[in-house]
Every structure is written in structure tokens, then in C-alpha cells.
Amino acid sequence: MRITALQIAPTEAASELAMEPIILTDSLEKVYRVGKVKVPALRGVTLTIDQGEFVAVVGPSGCGKSTLLHILGGLTRPTAGRVLVDGNDFCCMKDAEMTRFRRDKIGFVFQRYNLLPTLSARQNIALAQEIAGNGFNPHRFERVTKLLGIEGKLNSRPFALSGGEQQRVAIARAVICEPKLLLADEPTGNLDSENSQVVLSMLRQLNEELRQSVVMITHNPEAAAFADRIVRMRDGRIVSN
């Protein structure tokens, strides 16, 4: 279901009408159950991110960053509160709709790259296009692989690529279908500083050249510095925005 900013927050809507935010969360809560113990991961997160914005979410381990990212990506549902991504209210969507939404609107980049080990770089990237059902788009493929500097590595399997190269392939896979939102979970967590710089520069470049909205989770202040805005979290809450 598509909902506008006007419906969720009428008083703030006027300023949002010019460009609808890509993300709107309102009092978002998430409680995990570990055995009989309830563990609150998010305790009322309210956040707005504009289209084309590059936002870094920082905070200590266990503060709820990854949970927030998973909810924004439609991988899990909040326990309470509302979340709208590109106008889609997750509360009203069925599992199949969430899957379609993830396929069409979201690109994920993970700390551990998460490439399929049996496929070459080219096949890993093309897989996203196959799942999206759009067919192979050679122009987009060429543009993205050139932008990420992996044209010469497309026939290599992940085990034959360096960490930085694997992460660039993972980014290419994430953006090949032109998602509205790129969610990066510690994308430099497994990389040395040189490769981290390369990957962050590329995320920045994608954001600037393709107007790609990016939400990046990181522990690293240097990485966070690449973003337009830094959101700090602690104990499941946003402490500075």
C-alpha cells in the first residue's frame, strides 16, 4: 500500500511534498524473544531520510543498527510502530509483497560480501537481474561494472577475488536493478583501510552519479564521514540525528 507523508504526519507534510522521503519511521520498536526472555532491540526509532541522501548509522554493538537495517530492507517486521519506504507501509504488506518490494526497491551490501561461491562475478551480478525478472540489461551492466572498476574480474569466482573486489561485485549486484534504496551493513568491516577507501568512494560515487539513496551502518568514524548525515544510535534509540 502506498502512503504519502501527508497521511503519516500531516503537520510535517507540507515540507515533504516537494520530494517525498525515501524512508519514514515512526516510533519503531522491535523485540526479540530469546527463550522466555524478551530483548528489546529498537525502542521507538523515528527517522526520516530523503531521496538521494547518503546516511550513516553509527553506534556500539547491540545498539540496534542492524535490526533497523533489516526492518528497512523488509527482511523482518517491527514489533510496533510504522515504517514507510518509498511510500510503502510495511505494516500493511504481506510476506509475498515484502519479497517483491525487496526485489524491486532494495539493494543490500553486507560486511561478508555474501556472493554465491559457485558463481562467477558476472553470474552473481546477473543473478539479481534474473530474480528481478527484468532480463539482462547490457548497458546498465556495463555502466555499473565500469563505475565499480570490475570489468576485468567478471569471469572470476569469489575465491579468486580480493576482499575489496568481492565487495565491489556485491555493490554491483546490489545496484544493478536500480533499487530506490541501497542498504549497506558494515560494508568495510572486513576490508583494510585502502580497500575501505575504494569501496566508500564508490558508494559515494553511486550516490552522486546515480542519485542512489544509501543507508550505511558502520562502526568506523572515517567511513561515516563519507555520508551526508550521521545518525547515532544507543540502546535501540536514536541519540543524535
Binding site: T76, R100, R103, D104, T118, Q123
Partner: protein
């Protein structure tokens, strides 16, 4: 991706393909053997050249399993019926010392009248009461030559001749000797009747039934049509049980393989889910992989059946294995259906995995 997965796990692939191949090969060989042996047996009865068979009341299809033998004198009464050219009595005896062989006790004179006589590859007719004729397939299988001694029914027989296969049994001894060894006198298990013209077959059957009420009188063509595994209840059950066992083994192998594969690839399933793969897409990937594995297995099974048949008829020349397109298709469909069924639960399990838990799987 499916091809890459299959290629990436060569041992798993080989084991699955072989298991399904053995399943398919086993079904084809078992069915081919039962059909082949029955058909071969029926064809050899047809090869006698008679038009009608007469057996005692309540006789079995299996010639060696007849009830109490009939007096040979009945042959004379049958001979008197209109349109009967010749009648020959045969006494069947099972020999189990060298595998299970059916020995035909024959009266050479009337046998020649009904059948037109043997075609001798080597040697000639019986010279004494303890002479035996063997067909060329049996001779090849047992490496027997004319003059060799052969131990049958606890007696030593001498091979007097090797005859061309396809006419009744594979081992022939004189009827009187067969009677003596069975401690009977002038008895026969069956009579083969040759009509003056095959067109009189039904008329002669009616006359014989009138003459011998309660006896089993049937045309050789009818006997041929009854000698299929579908018409023999025990054989149908035997085939069904073996086929079921083969299919269950194939099912379990694919189930175990795909279950292990899905567990091993939990993280990959999580990646697919993060890319927006639907439950249907993930199920399709698992089922297609199982289908491809079993399709390779089916082809391997055809090869195993073909090679198995070659080996069997080389080592045991008296065996007949009939590999038919019909049973190749049935075995293939059973294997594919069993494999898809075996992969169904692992596919459902993969589709239902929680994406976050799957991505965190080590």
C-alpha cells in the same frame, strides 16, 4: 546457478546420479528379466509347433508345476479326434542341481510328428535310455559337448546331441526314462496336439473338452497370451514390490541429498532472499536441481540396464532380458517423480527459511 551447484559438488552429484541410475537400471532389469523369461518360455512352447495343449485339471501356467500326470494312453484317444494329425505326450521334471531347469521327457517318434523334429547342431537323437539332448544355449552356458556326462535327477546322462534352441525345453530325455525316474508308468504332464490345419484348432479343442471334461485344453496361442507377468498374480506382486523398493531408495537418496544441500546452503538461501527471491523461486531452484540430478540418473540407469543385460546374457546365455521402451519410460517417470517428491520437503524448508537467520548461518 543450478548447473554450477551440480558441478560444484561432484561427489554428491555422482552418488545421486548413480543411486537413481541403479534404481532405474534395477527396475528395467528385474522387469526385463521376468518378462523375458516368461516370454522366452512361452516362445519355446510355441516353437514346439503344436496347435493345442492338454493338461490335467487345475494345472498351472508353469509347465513344471502340473498336478498329477495323465495316462499316456489318452494320447491315443486324442489321436482319434477329427482333424488331429499327431499327438505327443511330455512329462516335465524339475532339476535343481544346476540351477532350476525344466527337463522335458519326450517320446521321440510322436515328438517328431508334431514338431517336425529337432535341428541338430552336433550329435543326434537318443541312443540309450540315459541319453540327453540339450539345446545350443544350454550347451554354451554349461560348456557341454556331445558325449559329455551330465548329472540330472541324480543320474548320469550322456549328451547324445545338441539341438537348435527354441523348440520346447532346453533339456530332453526319453519319456520312459522320465517316467521311471518319477517312479511312474506311462504318464505324461501334457499333450501337444498338431491339427491337420490350424483352422481346426477350435473344433479340436471342443472335441477334446468333450472327450476330457475338467481337463485343461487350450490353444498354444491362448497359452502364449497368458504367459505375461501381468497375468500371473505372484509375478505382478513381485515386480511391484521390487519397483517400490527401488523407488523408495531413489526417493530417500534424493531427499537426503537435497536436505543436506539445503542445510549446507542455508546462507545462500538467505542471500537469494535478500535479493528478493520469492518462495516459489527458491523452491524452483531446489526442485530443478533434484530434477536435473535424477534426469542424469535416468540416463545413467538406461546405460546400466543396457550394460547389465549385456553382462547377464554373456555370463548366463539361457537368461532372456527384455528391455522395452515402455518400461524404460515407466522407470524414468517413477525415478523423476520419486526425486521430485524427495526434494519437496527440502525445497519447502529452504523457501520457509527466515532470511535473517539464513544470512547469519555459519
Amino acid at each position: 546457478m543450478i548447473l554450477q551447484n551440480i558441478w560444484h559438488r561432484p561427489i554428491r552429484t555422482v552418488v545421486c546420479v548413480l543411486a537413481v541410475g541403479i534404481e532405474v537400471g534395477m527396475v528395467m532389469l528385474v522387469v526385463g528379466l521376468t518378462h523375458g523369461m516368461l516370454h522366452d518360455s512361452a516362445t519355446r512352447v510355441e516353437g514346439v509347433g503344436a496347435d493345442i495343449m492338454v493338461q490335467p485339471p487345475n494345472s498351472s501356467y508353469f509347465l513344471g508345476l502340473t498336478s498329477a500326470p495323465m495316462p499316456v494312453a489318452i494320447a491315443n484317444r486324442l489321436q482319434q479326434l477329427p482333424h488331429v494329425r499327431a499327438v505327443t505326450p511330455v512329462l516335465f521334471q524339475f532339476e535343481s542341481a544346476h540351477g532350476l531347469s525344466l527337463i522335458w521327457g519326450i517320446d521321440m517318434k510322436t515328438w517328431n510328428q508334431v514338431t517336425g523334429g529337432f535341428v541338430y547342431r552336433e550329435g543326434g537323437p537318443f541312443q540309450g535310455p540315459y541319453d540327453v539332448l540339450v539345446d545350443d544355449w544350454y550347451a554354451r552356458a554349461e560348456k557341454i559337448k556331445v558325449g559329455d556326462p551330465v548329472n540330472l535327477l541324480n543320474h548320469v546322462f550322456k549328451v547324445s546331441g545338441i539341438v537348435m534352441h527354441g523348440k520346447g525345453g532346453r533339456l530332453f530325455i526319453p519319456l520312459t526314462t522320465a517316467d521311471n525316474l518319477a517312479e511312474q508308468e506311462d504318464r505324461a504332464s501334457a499333450f501337444f496336439i498338431k491339427c491337420t490345419d490350424p483352422g481346426y484348432t477350435q473344433a479340436v479343442i471342443q472335441s477334446a473338452e468333450t472327450l476330457l471334461p475338467k481337463y485343461t485344453v487350450r490353444s498354444v496361442q491362448e497359452y502364449m497370451s497368458m504367459m505375461t507377468s501381468n497375468d500371473i498374480p505372484a509375478m505382478t506382486d513381485f515386480n511391484a514390490v521390487l519397483i517400490a523398493v527401488a523407488v523408495i531408495i531413489g526417493f530417500l537418496i534424493i531427499f537426503l541429498s537435497m536436505y543436506t544441500t539445503v542445510t549446507e546452503r542455508t546462507r545462500e538461501v538467505g542471500i537469494l532472499k535478500s535479493l528478493g527471491a520469492s518462495k516459489g523461486y527458491i523452491m524452483e531452484v531446489v526442485l530443478k536441481e533434484a530434477w536435473l540430478l535424477s534426469a542424469l540418473g535416468v540416463v545413467t540407469g538406461y546405460l546400466i540396464a543396457w550394460l547389465g543385460r549385456k553382462v547377464m546374457v554373456t555370463v548366463f546365455p539361457t537368461l532372456t532380458v527384455e528391455l522395452t521402451v515402455q518400461w524404460a519410460l515407466i522407470a524414468g517417470v517413477l525415478a523423476l517423480a520419486g526425486a521430485l517428491l524427495g526434494a519437496l520437503y527440502p525445497a519447502l524448508r529452504a523457501a520457509r527459511l527466515d532470511p535473517i537467520e539464513a544470512l547469519a548461518y555459519e
